[in-house]
């Protein structure tokens, strides 16, 4: 791995952010809008007395972190799609840049975006809904890591699918988290799911992260069991995503799709 090549990928996307208002929209607009909507909902429920203490923290905290997870996964795949849309894939693949270096560059740039977006959402929640995320931050950081690694795995998988099946399936970039969300127990506990669906939910790192988040916010401290399960699942999904990506990339190269990707 060469640092200069990873830095080149970061530099390319920083230039893109400078010229493309859409990138700013993706980074700031949606995380802030999510929090505004969830904030109003919590205010409404609180006014009607339907909200037990602590639930505001659960809902807004979950909204912030789910927004971060979704944005991270989406932006990783969109970063690759921008190369496809601009016919730049061929240029990049014929430089010494390796796939690992490319993905590392995307990881860095999207981590920066996720930090900016999550910070903006947190500030909005604090200013308008008096929701203070910071006392929990330290205890939540391990679960944020669990979410980021899973988002990376999903992003790599979607990118691999785009490489193999081209832009025909690019809508996966925006929709795949919707498939994961109902089983991730983002806004409700695992026990709210029908019993047959719980094993599926437990197989997702997102469920482990949001269950852990609720325990932290309820004052139950850091659950090492949830964290351990989340990280172990992350490792399995990441390894599987990388293996599937390599397989899809080889299949695309054998079929000559890398030069006709649009």
């Amino acid at each position: 791995m060469r640092f200069n090549r990873i830095a080149a990928v970061v530099e390319r996307h920083l230039y893109d952010a400078r010229h493309n208002l859409e990138r700013v929209t993706d980074t700031l607009y949606w995380p802030v809008m999510d929090i505004v909507v969830w904030g109003f909902l919590t205010v409404f429920l609180a006014q009607r007395g339907n909200l037990r203490p602590g639930l505001i923290s659960f809902l807004l905290g979950a909204a912030v972190l789910w927004g971060m997870f979704r944005a991270f996964q989406r932006d990783l795949a969109v970063s690759f799609l921008t190369e496809v849309w601009s016919h730049n894939v061929m240029g990049l693949l014929t430089t010494p840049l390796t796939i690992r270096e490319y993905l590392s560059g995307l990881l860095i740039i999207n981590l920066l975006k996720a930090i900016v977006g999550t910070a903006a959402a947190t500030i909005v929640a604090f200013v308008f809904y008096s929701y203070d995320f910071f006392p929990y931050l330290l205890a939540l950081l391990p679960f944020i890591l669990v979410l980021i690694i899973f988002a990376l795995a999903v992003g790599i998988l979607v990118t691999g699918l785009i490489v193999r099946y081209t832009t025909k399936i690019q809508s996966f970039t925006w929709s795949i988290t919707g498939l994961v969300m109902p089983f991730s127990c983002v806004f409700y506990p695992l026990t709210a799911l029908p019993r047959p669906l719980r094993p599926l939910a437990l197989a997702l790192p997102t469920t482990q992260a949001f269950e852990g988040l609720r325990q932290v916010m309820a004052g139950g401290g850091l659950s090492l069991a949830r964290l351990g399960s989340g990280l172990a699942l992350d490792c399995a999904y990441l390894l599987a995503a990388v293996a599937i990506f390599d397989w899809l990339f080889r299949a695309a190269r054998a079929r000559g799709l890398l030069v006709k990707m649009e």
Binding site: R12, Y15, S86, T94, P96
Partner: protein, 249 residues
């Protein structure tokens, strides 16, 4: 040999688009890869660039297998192809800065300014790519292709769309690169005048097979089956395109 292509074959399903192609390119040599549309030129170039896996055969560059030494080899080669674009909202300079960093070019700004000047597009530096004409983009592609002073340059229709002045500048730049760095160039084009002017050797493909190879005059003679003193590649090209492959082999 800078490039050795040995029995290269590519099948897409039941369709064989490159059929047992072998040739080599030595240091400092400019070789044209010619043939009618669908002859397999671009597929061959794309296999040389590692974008398409061959069905069989081997590709060696600088004595090393492309399959096993991709990263090392790609640091020493470059390419220009009309299929390769640039992020359109980035400026010319930004795009070239990114590529220069990918190739580990020292003193990026100075190198880019020198190349933009060489190709007569220094005034385009701050323009976004989407504001450029087709010919201007072709010149930016050539700047990108020259960034790492490549030892092997793969040019697929690189001078297409250039006006006569720009084409002259581009050809001068190519010759300068070849003289200064001993760059070997593999060149595909449908402009036979350019090929006769630039290339010392021609590999002529037809339906995926090499049907003639040698100097431009030799290839002319082989395809026309006449004793010619000068190259007439346009004429040979038309004859080869009309004939069945076995008629010109």
């Amino acid at each position: 040999m800078v490039l050795e292509v040995d029995h290269l074959t590519k099948d897409f399903g039941s369709c064989r688009v490159v059929d047992d192609v072998s040739f080599g390119v030595s240091e400092g040599e400019i070789v044209a890869l010619l043939g009618p549309n669908g002859a397999g030129k671009s597929t061959t170039i794309h296999m040389l660039l590692g974008l398409i896996d061959p069905t069989s055969g081997t590709i060696r560059m600088f004595g090393k297998s492309l399959q096993h030494h991709r990263e090392e080899i790609f640091g020493k080669i470059n390419m220009s192809s009309p299929y390769a674009g640039f992020p359109s909202r980035l400026t010319v300079l930004e795009n070239l800065l990114v590529y220069a960093r990918l190739y580990g070019v020292q003193n990026r700004q100075a190198k880019i300014h020198a190349l933009l000047g060489l190709l007569g597009i220094d005034e385009l530096e701050k323009r976004p790519m989407l504001q450029l004409s087709f010919g201007e983009i072709a010149r930016v592609r050539l700047c990108k292709a020259f960034l790492n002073d490549p030892k092997l340059l793969l040019l697929d229709e690189a001078l297409g769309g250039l006006d006569p002045y720009a084409a002259t500048l581009a050809k001068e730049a190519l010759m300068q690169l070849q003289r200064q760095h001993g760059t070997a160039i593999l060149y595909t084009s449908h402009n036979m005048v350019d090929v006769e002017e630039l290339c010392s050797r021609v590999v002529f493909l037809r339906r995926g097979r090499v049907i003639a190879t040698g100097g431009p005059t030799e290839v002319t003679r082989a395809i026309l089956r006449e004793d010619r003193k000068r190259p007439a590649l346009s004429e040979a090209f038309i004859r080869a395109s009309r004939s069945e492959p076995h008629e010109v082999q």
